[in-house]
Amino acid sequence: MNIGVLALQGAVAEHIRSIELAGGTGVAVKRTEQLADIGGLIIPGGESTTIGKLMRKYGFIEAVREFAAEGKPVFGTCAGLIVLAERLEGGEEPHLALMNMTVARNAFGRQRESFETDLDVKGIDTPLRAVFIRAPLIREVGSDVDVLSVYKDEIVTARQGHLLACSYHPELTDDYRLHEYFLNMAKEAAEGKTGR
């Protein structure tokens, strides 16, 4: 299963490594045409303002919306979660606006407040080591969104059908279980599509 990692800016190599550890094939995606060759797309951590601008510039907003409309899974981590959100706190213009949630940027503070912690995630049997870097959080979600984990009463992992998002960086540790979870989402989507 080919999983694309949007390679406009950010931690691309780390996601490719995690996907390969989970048994998939990671592909750096720099052009919209490449979306045709992948079964799922990861939008990595980086700076959401930079990634959002470059996505607009190169036609990725429409292209990824079409990709998702075909039922193909998309996974956003940190900046990627911001890019996926329908609503951004503070009135900032949303990017892909695919997931029914409101996201606050830099919600934990500046870099000195960045941290790592053990985190329980629904669907993963033991806690994940979650690295939060100038991380966003999910203020509220629509009724069609499943909350997969909370940290200090704040939502940090969520799933809406074939869309997955987390505030932290699963790609910065050797624990690839969240990537495995996403890879399975992509496999299920592909099987569903072949008309079984």
Partner: protein, 293 residues
Amino acid sequence: METGTSRVKRGMAEMQKGGVIMDVMSAEQAKVAEAAGATAVMALERVPSDIRAAGGVARMADPTIVEEVMKVVSIPVMAKARIGHYVEAKVLESLGVDYIDESEVLTPADEVFHISKNEFTVPFVCGAKDLGEALRRIQEGASMLRTKGEPGTGNIVEAVRHMRLIMGQIRHVQGLSKDELYHEAKTLGVPYELLLGVHETGRLPVVNFAAGGVATPSDAALMMHLGADGVFVGSGIFKSDNPEKFARAIVEATTHYDDYELIARVSKNLGTPMKGIEISKLDRSERMQDRGL
């Protein structure tokens, strides 16, 4: 819950990869940089070319400038402390800057010792022009590296020299036998364990950006082609004719560094880049890269 771990500090730099970090001297410039797609800004009182022209002692910026920049942008804000100046770094940390550059662009405060960066919660970036400097800075606690280049010259030749040297040295270390590594560690003046890591992985344990002399989109793309993880642009943007256009063009050329048609397109009608300096015209005493070894 733990803050300031090496994963959190190095991870912050990983998130800057493929991006452009721009020097800014005011809140207005910071907004221009953010709007152009910068992944972070470096808040300064003067850009390197002005520091070079002014002479005298260059110090940490006035905290007012740093705070004003922090107020107007949502991207990370970096600031420079003098090499070895523990207190300037602590002051910047107290202001809440996201990254500190212990920088040879400022006049060194200590000619022997660098800041002990491991004891800070805020991460540090340091300059390096060879593998020895790179691994010494990492041992002291740097979470990110950059080439030194020759700041404020608008001349890419020194950054190219440093990037090529470090990449070549990494390849050399990869090919050494275990017993040769001990000798190499001694020669480079670096801890054996860090050198062993480079030998085994074929890379530095932190990201390495290009800095010092980047003046055009093609300069930025060249540094990416040579293996840089991203680019710092100092004087190159706000000393050019059209900062907005230069900033946007350098961001695009960094992302698509191997798409030459795109680089050609963004390079059209940019206006005049900053005026450069031929390195051989610099007196040895004016070379910033020889500070902090």
